[in-house]
Amino acid sequence: MIIETSGLRKSFRSRAGRETKTVEAVRGVDLSVAEGEIFGFLGPNGAGKTTTLRMLATLLEPDGGTAVIAGADLRKEPGEVRRRIGYVAQGGSTWDESTGREELVLHARMYGISKADAQRRATEALDTFELAEYADRRCKTYSGGQRRRVDIALGIIHSPKVVFLDEPTTGLDPQSRAHMWGEVRKLREMGMTVFLTTHYLDEADALCDRLAIMDHGQIVAEGTPADLKQEVLGDVVSVNAREVAKAADLFDNAEYVRKVETTEQSLRLYVEDGASAIPHVLRTLDAEGVSIEGIELHRPSLDDVFLAKTGRSLRES
């Protein structure tokens, strides 16, 4: 395991007027991340994802717990951890008046890399992230996507073993987002372990090999996206019908239906295996003369997982 944490905790004191309040941002996080995987932290804003990431990146001192990252102990040898990791913050990290190349060279040199080597690495990184064209322009002229790619390049300029990406696609337009997913996969191909946070369901689903769902400072579920979805719910058959309530009653005692949920126009049946359930569903509805407007089979989304684990939808929180 390249990252292993146990009982990681952090609370903040916030002041509102005269009252001081303690907010437990992270309440005991146990994690293990295998070498070479893309590991995702999924959760709503304020779940404690960024705080955990900042602790692992040595930017915040944990209140309790332990962590070993790439073989170095977070509490005892933060300097060693810094050498072995890269960190890409959410809000960007480039200075308007510097050029991309200058930022990369300086950043590499801050890791003790020689000037010549730093320049070579900068050129290489600029090529890798398709930035060569803009390398010598000032960062303030870059687009959001270009700027984010410079951030990523900065995070890996010293060839770290692990790279932490905090919300790598937040604020990017759809095209840049898709592009960024490609860049993240590239990091894995380069042999790095990627640890990212996201509050986008599709991103967690498409990009991560494994993920942990976080809510209120704790991990509520962990596994591959497929396992998580399978474990919780199986498949979902949704039926659009006029008489939803009547239709719902028909499935109350059906053995192959685990759970029935209704919305105004549709009926959602959670079943183990959608393909074999659909003929049964249609037959039952037909026998009772319930006319339907549509039927759809879909795999449960990570939102369904989040809903099952926390009682809330991630889209709403």
Binding site: L59, E61, R82, I85, A89, S93, W95, E97, M110, H158
Partner: protein, 253 residues
């Protein structure tokens, strides 16, 4: 060794950015020029009340005051660090193994270089007005000014990193710098002040610094005021560097 290299790295970058945007040079010349043209003649007349005074004597009192004033403004360094904080540059630096003291010192040394440049300019600008000063004395005066800059700019950085907002920083600096400036006898020497005001001014380290610089510009390097200024500024500077580099090491957000 690593510490020196790190400091050099940070310093180099800051200098590069400084030279890229040379507006400050113009500002640095124009502001003192206003004082030399618009205020110094008035001050000479005012001081002449105590006895006739030559231009040279007047500028020997006035120019050191102006140098100290410019040095006091280096506390405004805090605004720059807030911008860097917001851009994420500080956090990016902190995630590397770079020395935390170097992050501070590299920046403060940039401020010192910038200020010394300005100080030399002010001195040279005053020469046509009648100022005369020995090179050795001027160099020693620049040492005092440099120490003050180091002290104030690192304090400015610590403040900026702690307050994290220009809106909190501006009133704070104005409130603190104003009385310090007035109590340093920058514009008029405190010899004219009533006794109670002198007593208050004596706790202001920059009053001692001003006296020291004035003694040097008056051509008295052996004056007590010179070593007193050094003895007061040096420990304060070390303390400020220590505290400020701690704020660089600590979590900033």
């Amino acid at each position: 060794m690593k510490f020196l290299r790190d400091t050099w790295l940070v310093f180099q970058r800051q200098m590069q950015l400084l030279l890229r945007n040379p507006v400050w040079v113009a500002v640095g010349i124009i502001q003192p020029l206003f004082y030399l043209l618009l205020f110094a003649p008035l001050m000479k007349q005012a001081l002449s009340a105590g006895g006739p005074m030559t231009d040279e004597q007047a500028y020997r009192i006035f120019v050191p005051g102006m140098l100290v004033m410019v040095a006091l403004f280096s506390a405004f360094s805090g605004f720059g660090i807030i911008a860097e904080l917001r851009a994420g540059v500080i956090e990016r630096n902190r995630v590397t193994p770079v020395s935390r003291v170097a992050l501070l010192l590299g920046r403060s040394l940039r401020d010192v270089v910038q200020l010394l440049f300005q100080a030399v300019l002010v001195t040279l600008l005053a020469v046509p007005f009648g100022l005369r000063v020995a090179v050795g004395d001027a160099l020693l005066a620049y040492l005092l000014i440099g120490l003050m800059t180091l002290l104030l700019s690192s304090t400015g950085y610590a403040l900026g990193l702690t307050l994290r907002s220009e809106d909190a920083m501006a009133p704070m600096l104005n409130t603190v710098i104003q009385p310090i400036m007035l109590l340093a006898g920058i514009f008029l020497p405190l010899t004219f002040a009533p006794q109670w005001l002198k007593n208050v001014a004596n706790v202001n380290p920059f009053k001692w610094a001003t006296d020291g610089v004035r003694a040097l510009f008056a051509g008295n390097p052996g004056d007590d005021a010179v070593w007193q200024a050094l003895a007061i500024l040096t420990p304060l500077t070390v303390l400020a560097l220590f505290i400020s580099s701690r704020t660089f090491a600590k979590s900033v957000r």
